[in-house]
């Protein structure tokens, strides 16, 4: 049974019901925001070009929060028959990517994650899709070495958190080449590179 008087008397609360319900849903999403998303690659910096700069704060294994600024440029990205003795696995194509990095020598940049993504959505990483001359899979680490070997810059020990200085000063600019195994029919359109979740840089393939 409807009572017009009751409806009129409570119209303000009735109107507020919808926004209050939305607010309840938003506040209950704290797990997503504080526990899940910070551990995923969830905050992209999209460059819309083959070059871009990633700026963000990260917490090192020594519990110190630092600023990171690094500019990355895709010099070239192409499908190749082999790269440094690595061949594509059956059904795969080998993509060789040359990247140029620009960063000040005090930046901690040792390990990064590099992935290619195509318009259909899947992301392809460093692992899988590659074999050696005997056809045996060359399973690699998901993390890539993203600094010159002889001048890596400062590094953080994973377990002790100790800051290790570079044996020699890293140059301001350096280039590295990577090879990723993708399905032969994949057409990558962008490259994603990140050092510490959740921030990462998205570059367009040239």
């Amino acid at each position: 049974m409807t009572n017009p008087t009751w409806w009129r008397r409570n119209r303000l609360w009735l109107l507020m019901l919808a926004p209050l319900l939305l607010l309840a849903v938003a506040t209950s999403s704290f797990r997503l925001v504080t526990l899940y998303l910070p551990w995923e690659w969830s905050r992209p910096t999209v460059a819309h070009a083959p070059t871009g700069t990633l700026r963000h704060q990260f917490l090192g294994s020594d519990d110190v929060r630092r600023e990171r600024e690094v500019t990355v440029t895709i010099v070239s990205a192409r499908s190749v028959p082999s790269s440094d003795g690595i061949l594509p696995a059956p059904g795969a194509a080998l993509w060789q990517i040359e990247l140029e990095f620009v960063a000040s020598p005090d930046q901690i940049l040792q390990f990064c994650t590099i992935e290619l993504a195509d318009a259909a959505g899947p992301r392809y990483g460093n692992q899988g899709g590659k074999v050696d001359a005997d056809g045996e899979p060359t399973f690699a680490n998901a993390l890539q070495f993203c600094v010159p070997e002889d001048a890596p810059g400062p590094t953080l020990e994973s377990f002790t958190g100790q800051l290790v200085p570079s044996p020699e000063e890293r140059p301001a600019t350096w280039r590295l080449t990577y090879a990723l195994g993708l399905p032969s029919d994949a057409e990558p359109t962008e490259l994603r590179i990140g050092w510490d979740r959740p921030e990462y840089l998205v570059l367009q393939l040239p």
């Binding site: 059904g91 795969a92 899947p122 692992q127 899988g128 998901a142 993708l182 399905p183 029919d185 994949a186």
Partner: protein, 194 residues
Amino acid sequence: MRFTRTGLVTVLLVVAALFVGSWLTQYLPNPDDFRDDPFPVAGAVGEPVRLRNSEFTLTKVQAAKRYEAFRQVAATDGVFVIVDFTFVPLTEPGILAGSQNEVRATDGRVFGGSPPLPSNCGPTNPGLPVTCQIPFEVPSDALVGLVLAIPAENGSHSRDNVTEIDLGITPEVAEQFAATDAQVSIHSSRPVER
């Protein structure tokens, strides 16, 4: 304070509603009973089973008394049920840790965990399937009706997709499996043509 007929009716209605509500709740499902339930995806040998992030196709089920991997041999007083399957991630690079898979017997017993010799599947990229062999050490009396449970996410057999693939072990097959004295050489994860 003045008692009115309307007020009394309202109080009685509220008390009645509370009574009916509390009586009904005992028949409603308790969230604690199903909050951790997995989301199983059923399948059979030869059928692709698609989880939210990967696809599995069970290609072969065999039994062994011993199996060899990485030049070492593991033996059992029960039976090693060895499953061959292909695994392909769908959206991002993936790896299936050998210790995460389970087989479940019809009586509720679960077998799995870290196998005597390590056996991972992958890692590999989306669209690039790998073939893998994973052994499960099972007592002979649990063979009939075994179901393979592979989780979508390593370490998570609850609140997420899990395969529920019937290994097709009938009482006759179980008898053969239990009597086996075979030694099987297990290959490590390797890429296969799509």
